[in-house]
């Protein structure tokens, strides 16, 4: 069973992401919800995690800082990170990919976009 962290300060956004995961066949994944980057980072360090889905604009620790911490961690460096944000454009996307994000999706996220982004992950 896959273990996935969803980091977003919005309950609504987390619910939409969970629905997308269910629709694309990841309904049995264990979902860990975090309201900001710091909480997500703590959860990722505390247990084995297969995937991190994160927003950018969050209180306490934003998504960009979270990616930097994850990629700098010897334990978490290989963890796939997908950004789901309303604040994305091509310039921002390039910057996030440079930081180590696997993909960047724009809100409102759709099941086909999620399916496409997670294709490699689903094949494993």
């Amino acid at each position: 069973m896959k273990r996935i962290i969803i980091a977003d300060d919005s309950t609504t956004a987390r619910m939409f992401i969970k629905r997308c995961l269910q629709i694309i066949g990841l309904g049995d994944a264990e979902i860990i919800e975090a309201e900001h980057g710091k909480e997500a980072l703590a959860a990722a360090k505390a247990q084995e995690v297969d995937l991190l889905l994160t927003d950018l604009n969050m209180p306490v620790m934003d998504g960009e800082t979270l990616i930097k911490w994850v990629k700098a961690s010897p334990k978490l460096g290989d963890l796939p990170v997908i950004v789901i944000t309303s604040a994305g454009n091509p310039a921002k996307e390039a910057q996030l990919l440079e930081l180590g994000a696997h993909r960047v999706l724009n809100k409102p996220v759709s099941p086909p976009a999620m399916m496409d982004a997670l294709a490699d992950f689903l094949d494993d």
Binding site: T11, A13, A87, N89, A91, P108
Partner: protein, 135 residues
């Protein structure tokens, strides 16, 4: 005509995309500019744009409509809806609208920074007409 102005078009597109995809609701423009949401039913939230220009975008709607949207999105009866759920949906709608608006408006290589949505209380504050620009 206002319909041809880039700010207006970017906002119409952002609102349509957001409401159609998040709450499965078709958007139609209300051309009667004298229409106001009754104050006792008004809910609103606001978000600051910090870069490349400074501004504020607000989303206001009738509380009765927000309750209906919340029930549809969460798939629950109106009697089971909580205030935090309604607040969260209102904030997330604005967050998504503003992100799409800025993406629609700016060039691909133009970065922007936006704040976090903050719920408003009471009537909508007056807009400072002196600071209005670009419209």
């Amino acid at each position: 005509m206002i319909e041809h102005k880039p700010l207006y078009q970017a906002m119409i597109t952002a609102v349509s995309q957001t409401l159609e995809n998040m709450v499965f609701m078709e958007v139609m423009e209300h051309f009667d500019r004298s229409y106001d949401i009754p104050e006792e039913d008004l809910v609103w939230t606001s978000l600051l744009i910090n870069d490349p220009v400074q501004g504020e975008i607000r989303l206001a709607m009738p509380g009765t409509l927000l309750k209906k949207l919340t029930g549809n999105v969460f798939g629950i009866d109106e009697g089971d809806i909580t205030q935090p759920q309604m607040d969260d949906i209102l904030n997330e709608l604005l967050n998504t609208i503003v992100g799409l608006f800025m993406t629609n408006l700016l060039a691909d290589n133009q970065e922007y920074k936006m704040g976090l949505p903050e719920l408003g209380d009471g009537p909508l504050p007056e807009i400072d007409a002196i600071q209005l620009s670009g419209n």
